[in-house]
Structures are given as C-alpha cells and as structure tokens.
C-alpha cells in the first residue's frame, strides 16, 4: 500500500514537480555554506567594507542590504530556518491533529465532546489575530516560540478533518469485524483505522506546513519574531523597514517572497497529488 503510494507519487507529474522543488530547497538548506558566497552576517571582506544598499552586481548577485549584508547569501541561509520552522510545525500540528482526531473519532462519548468543544473554539477564533496576540505576549524571541505559537493555533482544522474521517472509517464493517474478533482498541486504531486515513494525514501535514511557512513569514515580517534571525520573513521585515519598495529595490523584497511562494507551491502540488492518488475518480483523467 505504502509502496504503491510512493510509486504513484513518482509517476504523478504534479507530485514529482513538488518533490523536485522541495528537494532543491532541502539541498539549499543543507549546503547553504557551500552555495552562499558570504556569511549572512558578513558585511566586509579582504577588500574592505561592502557597499550599503548596492544594486545587483557580479560581486553581490542580489545586491546588499542597508547594513551591507549580501542579500543572496541571506536568501540562501534563510532557507534553513524557514524550512525548519515549516516542517517542524507541520509535524507537530499533524501529530496533535492525528492524536486528537483518533481519540475523539474512535472513542466518542465524553472524550469526543471535550475535544470537539475545544476544537470548535479554535476554529471560530480568527487565527491570525490570535497568533499576533499570543506572539506579542511571549517575551522570548526566537524560533521556538514561533513554532509554539504556530502549532498552538494550527491544529484545529486538521483535527476536525481527521476526526470526521475516523468517524466514517470507524463505522466500516472491517472495524466491526475486528471488534468481533476480539482485537484490542489500540490495535484497531493503529492497524485498522490509521492505514485508511494515511493520505488524509499526509494532506494535513502538507497544508499545515504551508500555513506554517506563511505564518512564520508573517510573524517575522511584522516584527514579532526575532529580527536578528536570518529568515525570509526577517528579510522582508528589513526590506520593508528600509523602504525597499520606495527605492524600487526589487532584488531585496522579491526573492524572499518568491521563495516563500515556491516552497508553498511545492507542498500544494504534493497535496493535489495526494488528492488524485487517494481519489481514483480524479486519477483516471
């Protein structure tokens, strides 16, 4: 089953494109020191200080910032944090959503009532204001608080979707057969139900990762993150603070925006593919 999925994933054009884009980003993140010509916080070399706010040149592919940092190098290094925050948050939210969804959906009763109640509250509260409010109360500045805030606000949608799917799978006859056979509840959850919602879990992971990448950029952009960190979001923050738009310095604000979009697209493409793979009706066309 999982082998089949992988095979389909590679033969599906959209999925393949998504995987390729993501692999490139991972490659960039891992080998950032080898790709970037300078350290992201380096503002001079043997030839002396870098020019401030320089336009693209052969020495600085995407120019320099107001502090004289090489923008291209920052873009490359920024991949590390943006990708890390996205994937870690995606894993955490998916894990929470899966746990709560399985618990509520399979056991039902009071457990489900409580989970659904909290779930509904989180679904109703608009998430961006909530993120901003929470983030502004957290005094520690850094990556982990951001991951915490994004995970805390991001689990509700996935939980709702997974729970309802578990509810339908739970009513399928093979689950009843397992009960009649004397299978233990945990075995039923992990052996009978989980394999049938794997594609949904993957979809939840992809969508919450996209949301985290964008959420991280948003927080950093409005200055609620750690502004000294090197991420695409802080790059946008500094670009905005230094009126890059006004000076028409496209090399400063366009590349990070583009990268955020591309990373989001790669996950979205894989998500589409999951839809196609798990829904045979779409696959045929």
């Amino acid at each position: 089953m999982i082998k089949d999925m992988l095979k389909l994933f590679i033969t599906n054009r959209k999925a393949l494109l998504g995987v390729i884009i993501l692999s490139i980003f991972i490659f960039i993140a891992v080998f950032a020191p080898l790709i970037a010509p300078y350290h992201p916080k380096q503002s001079s070399d043997q030839e002396g200080k870098f020019q401030l706010r320089a336009a693209p040149s052969s020495k600085h592919l995407l120019g320099t910032s107001h502090a004289g940092y090489d923008i291209f190098s920052r873009l490359i290094y920024g991949t590390r944090l943006s990708l890390m925050v996205g994937i870690v948050t995606g894993v955490i939210t998916t894990f929470i959503a899966l746990t709560l969804g399985l618990l509520g959906g399979y056991y039902g009763g009071v457990i489900d009532d409580i989970i659904s109640f909290i779930n509904n509250i989180f679904l109703v509260i608009p998430s961006l204001p909530l993120i901003i409010v929470i983030a502004s109360y957290i005094t520690i500045r850094g990556v982990w608080p951001i991951i915490f805030v994004l995970s805390f606000t991001g689990w509700a949608w996935g939980t709702r979707v997974i729970r309802s799917q578990v509810l339908t799978v739970r009513e399928r006859e093979f689950v009843k057969v397992a009960e009649v056979l004397g299978e233990k509840p945990l075995v039923i959850v992990f052996r009978e139900i989980l394999p049938n919602i794997i594609s949904l879990v993957m979809a939840t992971f992809f969508t919450s990762t996209i949301a985290a990448v964008i959420g991280e950029a948003t927080l950093e952009f409005i200055g609620l993150g750690n502004i000294s960190a090197v991420t695409w979001g802080t790059m946008l923050y500094w670009a905005q603070n230094n009126a890059a738009l006004l000076y028409n310095a496209w090399w400063w604000f366009l590349p990070p925006g583009l990268f955020i979009g591309l990373l989001g697209t790669s996950f979205a493409l894989m998500n589409f593919a999951i839809d196609e793979i798990s829904n045979p009706k779409i696959r045929k066309r």
């Binding site: 006859e173 009843k176 057969v177 004397g182 299978e183 394999p195």
Partner: protein, 312 residues
C-alpha cells in the same frame, strides 16, 4: 430489548428495533431470521455479537449472560466462541492489508498459533474455504479478488478461531447469484463438520428454507413466528408470514396465480403501532388486535406464532 436513540434536544427516545425477542439456538443448528429491511433482524445479530448493547433483556450463551460481569471479564473467550460474517464481503476486509495480514489476526489475537506456524495455518483455512492453491491468494489485496472469493476469506477468518456460534448477516445477498448457493453449501459444510450453530439473517425465504433447520420471521422489531423451516413456509400461520410467502417469486407458477394479500410498508420503529404491530396491514385484523399485544402462542411442540387468531 430496546435501543436508545438520541434525537434533537437530547431527549432520549427509543427505537424499538428489537422488542421482546426470545428464542433459543441449539448446538449445530441453523436458525434463519427472515424479515424485510427495518424488521430488526440485523440488530438481533449485532446484539448477540456484542456490537450493540440492548436496553433490557438477557442473552445467555452457554448459561452465561453475555452482557454480564462474567463474560465481560472473559471477553476474549466470548469473542473466540462467537464470530460474525457480514453482508458486504469487500467492506468487511481492510483494503490496506493483504489476505495474509487479515487471516493471521485471529490466530495472533487468540494465541492459536506460533509465529512460525502462521503461514501453514493460513494456507490450511484457505484450502478449507476452497481457495486453492493458497499460494495464489495469500499475498493478494482484497481489491484483487472477486466478491465470492472475498466472502470465502471472511468465512475463513470466522472459522479459524473454531467458533461455537456463527452469526451470518445476509452473507450472500451482495454476491452474484451463481455463487450464492456455493457459499450456503460451505456454511452447511462447516455446520456438519464442526457442529457450529448459525444465526442466519436473510430476507430471502427460499434461501432460508434451503439452509435452515428452523426459521424465525421478524416484523417491525418483533418475532412473529418461529418453527421448523419447511413448516413455516408450507404451512404459515401468521398473516405476515403468509404475505411474505405470497410475495416471494415462484417460477413454477404463472404470475397471475398468486396475488398479494395486503399492501403497505413496515411502520416507523420510533412509534410502533399499538397492539399487534402488523394490524394496520393485516387482512385478518380484528378490533382487539390494535389494543392487545399478542403473545407467542404454541401451535405445536416446535411451532409458535404471535397472533390472536391462534389464542387457545
């Protein structure tokens, strides 16, 4: 037995899916429960399978109340003794597992085989249900097999724990007609060989007559008539059984020969009719039928019927 149903406003109402059903099932006997959809026949099987808890009433299995303390403590033992075959052969098999993955579970759960013996055991049950050679099936996924083959897998899984009682909920109704008899014969074969008792749920009167020793007829949650299979069909006492009988296709007769005795459909089970549940449709209804709920009256030693016509 009643079942609670939650309605809007959380006021509990009861769906009388099963009401005052009492019958016993003997070892090695096939008892067919016949009824239309909504008659409560599937609920009966689910209650015995411990998938639904009845609101009242008792079910004894080998002398022990199945929802009582004793059985709850030894749940696994009850599970080993009572197995179920479902209607939809495909739905009853997890599409993400291979046949091997599906058929090894009963042995693992009940500790009936060592790891090293599993493969041999699985092949053995595959052969027993006529899937030969077993090597050809053991590593297939459910979607690679036909409905008839899948139902054999379901039977194999159920018999592999050597149950005492098998609940069969319309096991052939979703299969191709040419396969149905084969599956029925297989069910009979295991009865003859292992002395398994069956509660065989069906809507097909002719099929029930073919397979069962006794037939119970259910209507709107109540058992209306119970007796030896052939007698129920050739010599039906209850007007509802007579109606079912006249509705069943009979190729040996010309169509015009048997006309339906009555019309209408099964009533809602949330508010069932007062008195005899069949009285609004009954061609022989008497005034008191709407007031008095008939008991099961004894016709002869083995034959009981719930109808005021046969009150002694």
């Amino acid at each position: 037995m009643h079942f609670p149903v939650k309605k809007f406003g959380r006021k509990e109402e009861y769906v009388h899916a099963m009401d005052d059903i009492s019958f016993s099932l003997y070892q090695g006997e096939i008892l067919a429960i016949v009824g239309e959809s909504g008659s409560g026949k599937t609920t009966t099987a689910n209650v015995v399978a411990k998938l639904h808890r009845p609101t009242s009433g008792e079910i004894y299995f080998n002398g022990q109340e199945i929802y009582g303390q004793e059985v709850r403590k030894n749940n696994l033992e009850y599970r080993k003794n009572v197995q179920m075959i479902f209607q939809d052969p495909f739905g009853a098999l997890n599409p993400t597992h291979t046949i091997r993955g599906i058929l090894e579970r009963p042995f693992v759960i009940h500790g009936l085989a060592e790891r090293s013996e599993l493969e041999a055991k699985i092949k053995e049950v595959l052969v027993q249900v006529g899937l030969e050679p077993p090597e050809q099936f053991i590593d297939k996924f459910p979607h690679e097999l036909s409905g008839g083959q899948l139902q054999r897998i379901n039977i194999a899984r159920a018999i592999s724990v050597e149950p005492v009682l098998l609940l069969a909920d319309e096991p052939t109704s979703m299969l191709d007609v040419s396969i149905r008899i084969i599956i029925m014969n297989m069910i009979k074969k295991f009865r003859d060989r292992d002395n398994i008792s069956y509660l065989y749920i069906t809507h097909n009167l002719a099929g029930a007559r073919y397979i069962a020793d006794r037939i119970g007829v259910m209507y709107a949650g109540m058992l209306m008539e119970l007796g030896p299979a052939d007698e129920i069909i050739q010599n039906a006492y209850h007007p509802y059984t007579q109606l079912l009988r006249s509705a069943a296709p009979q190729p040996e007769k010309d169509f015009k020969e048997n006309k339906l005795t009555t019309q209408g459909e099964i009533p809602s089970l949330v508010n069932p009719p007062s008195g005899c549940r069949f009285h609004p449709r009954c061609p022989k209804a008497m005034p008191e039928c709407s007031k008095k709920l008939p008991e099961m009256y004894q016709i002869n030693e083995k034959h009981r019927v719930r109808c005021l016509l046969y009150r002694q």
